[in-house]
């Protein structure tokens, strides 16, 4: 479980996160949703410590993370995996080496054990015969898969995904979403996914946190979304005609 308490973040004059309080549960796909520029990425970066908030606390299963020194931060980070928006694979390493690196760095596994773990992780995300390709040689969807494999290599307790299906076609998006969901449940991970993709929210969102202009505007389940009378959330979710129709159908039931 991850708890965010009274987090504020400003960049110069710009108050990007305004007193955010939120709880993200284990074994669930927690979603941070909102329009582009609302502060999703900044919130996620605060949670993982790539950005330090001006005020506030963040707890990982009770372990405070904001005011700790670098060493302690690295300790807690060994429980984290993150899938970046652009995958952020190491371009000078091949697929297998990307997944191998965290094992090389932080485990005392034998070569054979590491290889087994790498094969397992790549297999889990559906990569079978591109082990020796370089990131530039595989598709965006494959890169995302490898990024997920790398993120789960060390059995993380927490998984973070920043817009995991940006730039992917709808079918690939659904596959990636489902993969994230399955892994979350299978290993009881506290997963946080940033997205503005309604399909993802409806497909895999368990606990949804709506950010509006840097404020946490609303939090609930995806069923609550259909019945909410929050105008900003309604505008965001039911922006397209398709979702207006879906809402109508849902509410007529």
């Amino acid at each position: 479980m991850i708890e965010v308490v009274n987090v504020n973040k400003t960049f110069g004059e710009k108050h990007v996160l305004k007193d955010i309080n939120a709880t993200f549960d284990a074994g669930k796909v927690n979603m941070i949703i909102g329009r582009s520029g609302s502060g999703k990425t900044v919130l996620l970066k605060n949670i993982v410590g790539l950005v330090t908030p001006e005020t506030g606390e963040i707890y990982f299963d009770g372990r405070e993370f904001v005011k700790v020194d670098e060493k302690r931060k690295r300790e807690i980070r060994k429980d984290m995996g993150m899938v970046f928006q652009g995958s952020a694979l190491f371009t000078s390493n091949n697929v297998e080496e990307n997944v191998m690196l965290p094992l090389d760095l932080f485990t005392k596994m034998s070569k054979a054990e590491k290889q087994k773990r790498v094969d397992f992780c790549l297999d889990r995300v559906g990569i079978v015969n591109s082990h020796h390709s370089f990131p530039s040689e595989i598709s965006g969807g494959m890169q995302k898969r490898v990024a997920i494999a790398r993120a789960i290599a060390l059995n993380p307790k927490y998984l973070f995904c920043d817009e995991p299906n940006s730039g992917l076609d709808p079918q690939t998006s659904i596959l990636i979403d489902q993969l994230i969901k399955e892994i979350t449940v299978e290993y009881n991970i506290t997963t946080i996914v940033n997205t503005h993709d309604m399909n993802s929210i409806m497909e895999i969102g368990d606990n949804i946190c709506f950010i509006y202009q840097g404020n946490k505007w609303w939090q609930g389940s995806k069923d609550d979304i259909f019945t909410t009378d929050n105008p900003e959330l309604n505008d965001f979710v039911f922006a397209s005609n398709l979702y207006k129709k879906i809402k109508k159908a849902h509410n007529d039931e």
């Binding site: 993982v48 410590g49 790539l50 670098e70 690295r74 300790e75 980070r77 060994k78 984290m80 995996g81 993150m82 970046f84 928006q85 652009g86 952020a88 694979l89 190491f90 371009t91 690196l101 965290p102 090389d104 760095l105 932080f106 790398r150 060390l154 973070f160």
Partner: protein
């Protein structure tokens, strides 16, 4: 004020760089790769530049010392000493600032803007230490060899002139000059200089790469800054070290 902020950031980055690597095996693997990229891959340019400079120096010395009272072997001697004192370390490093500096800044800058550095941090890796320390250590140990190589090839370049144009200096005079009044300390001086320059070039270039913000355009700018500031630092420390070591 800006300069002090930048310097502060530089030293704080170096603080993170100079910690113990999490995993020695990985460190040595990366060091080996950097020795190849920073050291071995610079051999070609150092060779070419040194041979040509040695040849040109010999011709110019020949013109400068065109006087019946100056013995011709002075040409060999001055080519040798110029190569040792200044060319093999300072000039070679000005050239390597361009080659190695821009390479380091653009590599690390690209890793920054594509979030590869963030990815390392999330794994719990000290990214500055992981990425930068092997580069500094690699340059520190390989650059002195490049200096020695440069001295030898510069002398060979001069020899080529003596061999082909005996009217400038004869081979015998040139070789006599090479042996005449040789000060071994000059070699120590140049090796110390280039080792310091190695640290300056790699750390400054890594610094500009590491703090790149934005996109491809900014990577280009970081790379340019890396070269310019590396060159300034080399020139400044050349003056300081010369004052300290030779006077």
């Amino acid at each position: 004020m800006n300069l002090f902020v930048t310097m502060g950031k530089y030293f704080s980055l170096m603080g993170s760089v100079l910690s113990k690597p999490v995993n020695r095996k990985i460190f040595f693997r990366r060091l080996k790769a950097e020795i190849e990229q920073i050291g071995f891959d610079s051999v070609g340019i150092v060779c070419i530049v040194s041979v040509f400079m040695g040849a040109v120096l010999t011709i110019q010395m020949g013109i400068n010392f065109e006087s019946p009272i100056i013995p011709r072997y002075i040409i060999g001697l001055s080519t040798r000493d110029t190569m040792i004192l200044e060319f093999s370390s300072t000039i070679v490093c000005l050239i390597l600032s361009g080659r190695v500096g821009s390479n380091i800044a653009s590599e690390i800058g690209t890793m920054r803007i594509t979030e590869q550095i963030d990815a390392l941090e999330i794994m719990g890796v000290n990214s500055a230490n992981y990425l930068i320390l092997p580069k500094i250590v690699a340059a520190f140990f390989t650059f002195p060899f490049l200096a020695l190589l440069s001295i030898m090839l510069g002398i060979v370049g001069g020899f080529f002139i003596a061999f082909t144009s005996p009217d400038i200096v004869t081979v015998a005079d040139y070789i006599y000059g090479l042996h005449y009044a040789f000060v071994p300390f000059y070699v120590t001086y140049t090796v110390v200089k280039i080792a310091v320059f190695a640290i300056l070039i790699t750390s400054i270039s890594a610094f500009f790469g590491y703090y790149t913000e934005g996109g491809a355009l900014e990577v280009g700018k970081s790379s340019t800054k890396a070269v310019v500031y590396s060159i300034i630092a080399v020139l400044l420390f050349n003056l300081i070290l010369t004052q300290v070591m030779l006077t």
